[in-house]
Every structure is written in C-alpha cells, then in structure tokens.
C-alpha cells in the first residue's frame, strides 16, 4: 500500500527491509545506532537488529571504511554511512584505491558489495566543508557506481538495488530532500510499503516536453521539475531528465530527449569545472544524431567553482536555483 512519506523514511525503510531479508547486511558509521543517524535515516535499526549489525563507530573514517571492505571480502554486505559526504577525504584512499579497485585488481575474484551512504548538498548555511555534493569525484573513479535520488519513491527502490548490487555503490542523499523539519523543502511522496528494486542506470523522465531538455540529479532534478512548471506557464515545454544514477549514466535517455527537443540545459550543484555537466554535454556532442539535432549550443547552470559560502546572499549567488534554471532555459529557447 503506497502512503506518503518523507525521503528519510523511505531510506530508513529500505535499509530495514533489506536487513530483515539478509542477515549479512550490517550498518556502520558515526552516531547511526543510539542516535539513529545525524539525519535520522538509521532510526530504530539498533533496537531491531542489535549492536553486532548496527555498529556505532568512532570518528575514524579511514578505519571503518577499510573495515567495511574487509568485511565484504569475506562475506558481509556492509552499508557505511559517512555523516557528510564532505568527510570522504579522510577515507579516500580506502574508497578509490581499495573499494573501487580490488575487484578489478584481483581479476574478478573478490566481490565488494558495499554501499556508502552520504548526505550531500548546501543551501542551508553550512558553508564550504559541509555543503558539497562531489558527485564527479566519485563518478570519475572506475569501479564505483554513483546514485543520487530526488524523491522518496526513487530513494527506496534505488537503495534496495544498491544494497543488492555486488559492486560498490556511493549513494548520495541530498539534505534538503530528506524531509526533516529543519531542512526545508524536503521531498515527500507515495511509496509502496513492500520492497521493490529500481534499475541502476535508468534515468527518469520527470516531465515530458518538446522545446528543451533540462537535466539534473537529486536536488537539481527537484528544482528542474519546479522550473519546468513555471516554464510551461510561459509557454515553454520543457522535458526534465532526472538522472537518478550518474554511474552508470543513461546516455540513451539523454540522446533521445535531445534529438526530440534540440536544446540542452544541464543543471548541477557540483563545481562546474571537469564535472557532471561537461560529461552530459560530451555525451550529446559525441553522438552524431543528437549533435545534429542541436538548435543551440548547450548551456549549464551550477556552482561555477566556488567554495560554498556561508552567508545567505553569497550562497544563493553560487548555488543553482529555480530562478536561474528558468532564466537560462528562456535564454536558450529564445536564442
């Protein structure tokens, strides 16, 4: 039975249902047990599954990331929570040199079914060390799948698929979508009670349209949907593609849409240089059909390459917004 829940509840439910199904799944991270997670997502798990499967760790990211890898090598399926994605740096060697590569370097002998869950994003005044999304850093490394849901339904299905996947998945959850009262707006929606999987590597067409393709992920997909509603009122029919997974990237959906609309606007909260927007545009540029269909040069909205500032007007100047998307889309359509 679907009922309306917040994204954090969908995430919590996915973990709980998977842990009920498979006793090899453990959860570890800082404050995830007694506290239920800094962003609530692991509420109730310690009570239900006990401290051998729900493990509160010290602030020791390299240590417990390495432990998740070792545990996976001999048969467990760990879910590791990084309290904020921004803290990946102290564990980075374990992530990109070990987690991402051990399957390959062992000639396919080892499976690494590890999910790294991490809250991402800014827009609420947490400044440059607690506001990043950092998609492209993970997506750049071969061997990591990267998922970034924009709503509760996708979050539940994609997280279940990520947990069942035999490869490492970096599962990035935008803080403004969790639905926590102190982090508006939050994403709420209908979610079936029973477990279900959504395939990794399939984008979602969030809105169909004819004039322009707007691409986003997580919070920028959410913003793009709102922007498309406003554009429609102004007579512009925008197609919104919510990437859902950045690795694998649904190139087919991108090309098909651009072949139809002939205009491409990519929205990203990450730093623009060397990032997601460039990758999406290259995906179009490399494809003869899609490239030929372009009626205007592609455009992008995102953080131009600035550490996310604290003060509200400064932060707003840097991060993408509904207004910026609408403005850029109109420019592109009128070009």
């Amino acid at each position: 039975m679907p009922r309306e829940i917040a994204m954090w509840e969908a995430i919590n439910e996915a973990i709980r249902q998977e842990m009920e199904r498979d006793s090899r799944i453990i959860v570890l991270g800082e404050d995830i047990g007694k506290m239920g997670g800094a962003f609530w997502c692991t509420q109730g798990l310690l009570e239900q599954f006990g401290s051998s499967r729900v493990i509160d760790t010290p602030i020791s990211e390299a240590g417990f990331m390495g432990m998740a890898i070792g545990a996976a090598l001999v048969g467990l399926r760990p879910i590791v929570e990084l309290q904020f994605v921004d803290f990946f740096g102290v564990a980075w060697d374990q992530i990109y040199n070990h987690l991402a590569k051990l399957r390959y370097m062992s000639g396919g002998q080892f499976k690494l079914p590890v999910v790294i869950r991490a809250p991402i994003g800014g827009g609420y005044g947490d400044a440059a060390q607690h506001s990043q999304v950092l998609y492209s850093i993970f997506a750049h490394i071969p061997g990591l799948k990267v998922v970034a849901p924009s709503n509760p339904y996708d979050a539940k299905g994609l997280l279940i698929s990520s947990i069942r996947c035999d490869d490492p998945v970096v599962f990035l959850e935008h803080k403004l979508l969790y639905g926590l009262f102190y982090l508006p707006p939050g994403s709420f929606g209908e979610v079936p009670e029973e477990p279900y999987e959504l395939p990794l590597g399939e984008a979602r067409i969030a809105a169909e349209g004819e004039d322009i393709t707007i691409v986003g992920a997580a919070y920028t997909a959410y913003l793009a949907e709102k922007a498309a509603d406003r554009l429609r009122e102004q007579g512009v029919s925008a197609e919104v593609i919510d990437l859902r997974t950045l690795v694998p990237l649904d190139k087919h959906a991108l090309r098909k849409s651009v072949e139809k609309t002939g205009r491409l606007l990519v929205v990203d909260e990450d730093y623009l240089p060397y990032g997601l927007t460039g990758e999406v545009i290259a995906t179009i540029a490399e494809d003869a059909e899609a490239f030929k269909a372009l009626k205007a040069p592609p455009a992008r909205v995102g953080n131009p390459g600035v550490p996310v500032p604290f003060s509200e007007p400064l932060e707003k100047a840097v991060l993408p917004s509904e207004d910026k998307i609408v403005k850029e889309a109109l420019k592109l359509v009128e070009a």
């Binding site: 990331m65 090598l73 040199n97 070990h98 396919g108 499976k111």
Partner: protein, 342 residues
C-alpha cells in the same frame, strides 16, 4: 603574585617479560623450513630473471624476513584472512597461493592469480582469503574488517594484517588498533620491523623506541618478537591467534628483523645503510638459524635440508615452466571485472 603547587596524574611504561612455551616437532620444524626455503628459492629466481628485465614494473623482495610469514601462516588455514603489503611474495607462498599462479601474475600472464591485473605488489586469492595492497598501511583496516565479519558471522576464523614499520606511522594503523580493540576483533597485527621504510630508518621516523609500546595506547597486548627466529615467531603467533580464536581480542606482534634485499630491485642503491650493518644481519639469516636450531634440538639433519632445498628448486622450476607457457591476456580482458557481470 602567589605561587601554587598543583599535582597531576601521569603514566609511565614498564617493560615486562612474557614467558611462552613452544613445542616443536620434527614435522613442524620441517614445515617451517619448507615454507622459508620455497619462498627464498622463488625470490632468488625472480631476482635473477628480473635483473635481465623479464618482468615489468617494480619488484620488492624480502630476503631475510621469511621467518615472519612462515611462522605466522603455519597457524592459519584457508578460512583465515591475510592482508599483506607490496612485499607480499613470501606471504602468498606461505598462505598457499599456487607458485605458477604467482609467477604468471608477475609476468602479466592470463593464468596469473589476478589474470595479469594485479602484478607483484597486489597478489590476491579469494579462495585463500589473501589480499595484498600497494598502498602502505592500506591493508590494516581491511584485516580488521574481515575480523569483524568473522565475529558477526560466528566463524572461528582469524584475520592477520602484515605490514612494515613504515606503515605504523599511517593513521590507518592507529585507527585499526583502536577499532579492533573496542570491538574485541579476532585480528592479529603483525608488524615486520625491518628497520627501514625504503631509505628512512625507523628510529628517525617513529617517536617511540619500539612500536610494541604503541599498542598500550589501545589497551592491546603486544609482544616484541625476534623476527629472524621462526620458532619465536610461531610461538608468539600461536599465543596471538589462539587468543583471537577464543574471542579474547586483538594483539600486536612487533617482529624485529632486517631486510637483506634492497627496498626494490635494481633501483635501490642502499646507500642509506651504515657500513657493516647488513653484514651483521646476514649472520642472523633466519634460514640458517633454523638449520642450526633444528640440528641442536635433534629434529632434523643436513640431509633433510638438502632434500627440501632440492625439492624447492624443482617446484620452482616446474612452476616457471607452467607459468611461462601461459599466454598473455587478450586486450579485451582489460575491460572486464570493473563491475560484476561484465
């Protein structure tokens, strides 16, 4: 102004002697000897061939350190996990990885243990539960994690992390000791203190006289071990492994040894070694040491040693033949194994 006298609590270290008894049978002594001689015979042959540029990449050998993997792995089965380092060939041999698979891997052949995707620093085997990493300190938390899995799954397996004195200055060493201690994990940290990290002396890089002291900061028992005495290594490891299997938690073995090989073949000029130091340690060669002990304890004779050496030469020779008859991998192989199902 007035002067006040305050008192504070502080701690000091006390050294203590631990007495452990060892029972050494002829079988055990010969098993140590076989492992050490096999590792050395393989490494000697690899060195000879590497010097004529038969293999690509670097080559880190561990002459003089063989007693440590031999003594520890004597206590392990295929169900136990080992993480090793860039200097992992003897460890792979002692953990039972096939010689031909190891050699083929070093030659980048299709039949290598990692199908030619790992190379000499990254030997791995899922069936033997063995993993080496080229990142100094990288394997330490991974062993702790395997131990966490054993504990969670109720398996009586143990995990062993081998690493150098250089790695003991990485954060992962300290984080792993702390984590293993708070969760009482069945893991043994085996520090191979060969006194150098490439050119850097331990005494110049490490704020304590002996890394065994550091374990105290993590409420973990530690033993300082003569790493060139395989009987001592085995005895200490038996204590550590049995504690771990009984659920009594982790421990650290700080094995004092010396690398008679250069840090890496061909490149390392070894100018950092003080004069006469290597010569002194050559006299403490663990293979010869075991021969002397076995004769003294009347467990084996010169003939036994000669026979085992001849067997090792034959095994290595045959393994080379099999390994080198394997083809190089097809280029398409490069695009497999990034993700599962590919």
């Amino acid at each position: 102004m007035s002067r006040v006298l305050l008192s504070f609590k502080s701690y000091s270290l006390a050294e203590r002697e631990e007495k452990l008894e060892a029972e050494v049978t002829r079988e055990l002594a010969l098993s140590f000897y076989r492992k050490m001689v096999l590792a050395r015979t393989l490494e000697d042959e690899l060195k000879r061939r590497y010097e004529s540029f038969e293999m690509r990449g670097e080559l880190h050998l561990g002459r003089g350190q063989e007693a440590i993997p031999a003594g520890v792995c004597e206590l392990l089965s295929d169900r136990d996990f080992v993480s090793a380092t860039h200097r992992c060939i003897a460890h792979a041999v002692c953990k039972g990885l096939p010689l031909d698979g190891i050699i083929a891997e070093l030659y980048g052949r299709a039949s290598g243990v990692c199908r030619g995707k790992g190379g000499h620093m990254h030997l791995a085997s899922s069936s033997k539960r063995f993993l080496a990493t080229g990142i100094v300190g990288g394997g330490i938390p991974i062993a702790a994690g395997a131990a966490l899995a054993f504990k969670t799954l109720g398996e009586d397996s143990v995990a062993v992390a081998f690493f150098g004195d250089g790695a003991a200055n990485q954060g992962t060493f300290h984080e792993s000791l702390n984590l293993a201690s708070i969760y009482r994990l069945p893991v043994v940290f085996v520090l191979e203190d060969n006194q150098y990290a490439f050119s850097t002396r331990r005494s110049e890089s490490t704020a304590v006289e002996s890394n065994a002291i550091r374990a105290l900061g993590y409420s973990m028992p530690a033993l300082e071990v003569d790493g060139n005495d395989v009987i001592a290594v085995y005895t200490a490891a038996k204590w550590a492994v049995e504690r771990a299997r009984r659920g009594e938690g982790p421990s650290l073995l700080d094995c004092k040894t010396y690398r008679l090989s250069p840090h890496l073949e061909i490149v390392d000029t070894e100018e950092y070694r003080p004069e006469g130091e290597k010569e002194k340690w050559e006299k403490l060669d663990p293979v010869r040491r075991l021969e002397e002990q076995a004769v003294e304890l009347k467990l084996a004779s010169k003939e036994d040693f000669e026979q085992i050496k001849a067997e090792a030469r034959k095994l290595v020779e045959e393994a080379f033949q099999r390994a080198l008859s394997s083809p190089l991998p097809a280029p398409e192989e490069a695009f497999r194994d990034i993700f599962s199902g590919e």
